[in-house]
């Protein structure tokens, strides 16, 4: 950890997954820091599994967290988190930053499936998730933003998700919500009172040959082929539970 300066935390956690040459995946780098503790859990087949465990309350206002994962050629990595991430107000008025950097080489596969991010009342967080994939890389990524704990007004949340394949952006989307967000964020063009927003991205060379067909999943979720070998499920729901159910259904549909 670069340290705790005053009341602000700067922390950077890193994972590197490498094919171990025996059909499995090794983790030569598994460095947690500060609030981001990393635990290796039991492998499943050729896939290494890592759990992100919150070791202290974060992100709070002014904190800057960075979590990066690199999956090398032929390696398979699954990353989950032990609990939802709760953005809370800090002692400073400053915004918090949470950056996620994912890098998957040709022939590598990453399943990035953290629990929800909850934007608590009074918090102010900028999330940036960037996935850089090689032409032959595979990715399954889920992000869920929950606006406020139960019955609570949300904090300010800006979340940008960018996926690049072979250097070309196939998805670049930002959601801004909560007090101070540009007008209309809770209106009929953006969230219309829904309190949970989610994205599920699947990318891989198989989508180049067989692009997914666009389809609706209920009234407030759609599965769409992107302009590249990837598919997006975009959903809004009244709460975290119903959002997860929608995204799980979509994932099951895509796994067929």
């Amino acid at each position: 950890m670069d340290g705790v300066t005053g009341t602000r935390v700067r922390a950077e956690a890193r994972i590197v997954a490498r094919a171990d040459g025996r059909g499995g995946t090794a983790l030569p780098v598994l460095d947690g820091e500060g609030p981001l503790a990393l635990r290796r859990t039991r492998a499943q087949g050729t896939e290494a599994r890592v759990m992100v465990v919150g070791a202290m309350s974060a992100p709070l206002g002014g904190d800057h967290l960075t979590l990066s994962a690199r999956v090398e050629e032929g390696a398979r990595l699954h990353v989950g988190s032990a609990a939802a991430t709760l953005a809370l107000p800090g002692q400073t008025k400053a915004e918090a930053h949470y950056d996620v950097r994912l890098d998957v080489a040709d022939g590598g596969e990453l399943h990035w499936l953290p629990e929800q991010l909850i934007s608590a009342n009074g918090s102010d967080l900028r999330v940036s998730t960037r996935a850089e994939l090689g032409a032959g890389a595979r990715l399954v990524l889920r992000e869920e933003q929950v606006l406020g704990r139960a019955g609570e007004e949300p904090g300010r949340l800006v979340s940008r998700l960018t996926v690049r394949i072979a250097g070309r952006a196939v998805l670049d989307q930002q959601v801004s919500c909560g007090p101070g967000a540009p007008g209309g964020w809770d209106g009929p063009a953006v969230l219309a009172g829904h309190r949970a927003v989610g994205q599920l991205v699947l990318a891989g060379p198989e989508f180049a040959d067989r692009p997914a067909d666009a389809r609706m999943l209920g009234e407030c979720a759609a599965l769409v082929p992107l302009a590249g070998p990837a598919v997006l499920v975009s959903a809004v729901a009244p709460d975290a539970l119903r959002l997860r159910r929608l995204l799980d259904e979509a994932a099951a549909l895509l796994a067929r």
Binding site: R160, T162, R168, A169, V170, L171, D172, Q173, Q174, V175, S176, P182, G183, G184, W185, G187, P188, A189, V190, L191, A192, V197, A214, R215, M216, E219, C220, A221, A222, V224, P225, L226, A227, L232, S234, A235, V236
Partner: protein, 224 residues
């Protein structure tokens, strides 16, 4: 430059096919999310700060001379709905035809050659503004205004909303459109030095999802 060229380009009667599109209003009306002037205003406000901002920045960046193919790819990444990507290209193709007739230029000819199926409308809008001798602010204003004028006009037809109320909505949004156009131009100028990633990517999940729902209807009044 001629400032009046801006009026020609921004005129709803400019033959670029925009009248056939509701900017997501038809889906929002059918879903019961837009029911009156107040909810139309909220819809338009959300659209201006998402689709309007992105379109404004793409158009301004095209006026500033950024590569059209790069901007078109950036527009693709910012438009996950294939129905909206198709609509944007169709509108781009129609606008390019009108623009080439109005302000003949080598750049517009080259764009037509490079994108036979049409480039994203905001990219064409920017190059049309450039051919007309207009600046990045003008193109951003055009895009920001179009992002709300289309839905407002469509809602008059969809809900039999009083046209005076719809125009009132647009007038009340004017100060916000100024801010959208300003941020769009600022981002476009940044993109010139930092690349297309500096362009905004603001999105309205319900605009994207609604567009897919709308595209699947067998009968509809508007193309998108």
């Amino acid at each position: 430059m001629s400032r009046a060229a801006l009026l020609v380009l921004a005129d709803g009667r400019f033959p670029a096919g925009g009248h056939a599109h509701s900017g997501g209003a038809e889906a929002a009306v059918k879903a019961g999310r837009v029911t009156c002037a107040a909810s139309l205003e909220d819809f338009c406000r959300g659209r201006a700060h998402t689709a309007g901002l992105v379109a404004g920045a793409l158009a301004a960046a095209a006026v500033l001379g950024m590569d059209a193919a790069e901007l078109d790819a950036a527009a693709d990444a910012r438009t996950p709905s294939p129905a909206l990507r198709a609509a944007a290209r169709r509108l781009g193709r129609q606008l390019l035809r009108a623009a080439r007739a109005s302000w003949p230029s080598d750049e517009l000819d080259a764009l037509a050659g490079a994108f036979p199926k049409g480039a994203h409308q905001p990219v064409v809008l920017g190059l049309a503004a450039r051919a007309a001798g207009l600046g990045p602010e003008d193109a951003a204003y055009c895009a920001a205004y179009e992002s709300v004028s289309g839905p407002a006009t469509a809602t008059v037809r969809l809900l039999s909303l009083d046209p005076f109320d719809a125009t009132g909505v647009l007038a009340r949004l004017a100060p916000e459109l100024d801010r959208v156009a300003d941020s769009a131009v600022e981002a476009a100028r940044r993109a010139v030095t930092e690349g297309v990633d500096a362009l905004p990517a603001a999105s309205g999940p319900l605009l994207e999802v609604g567009a897919e729902w709308h595209a699947a209807w067998p009968v509809r009044l508007f193309a998108s």
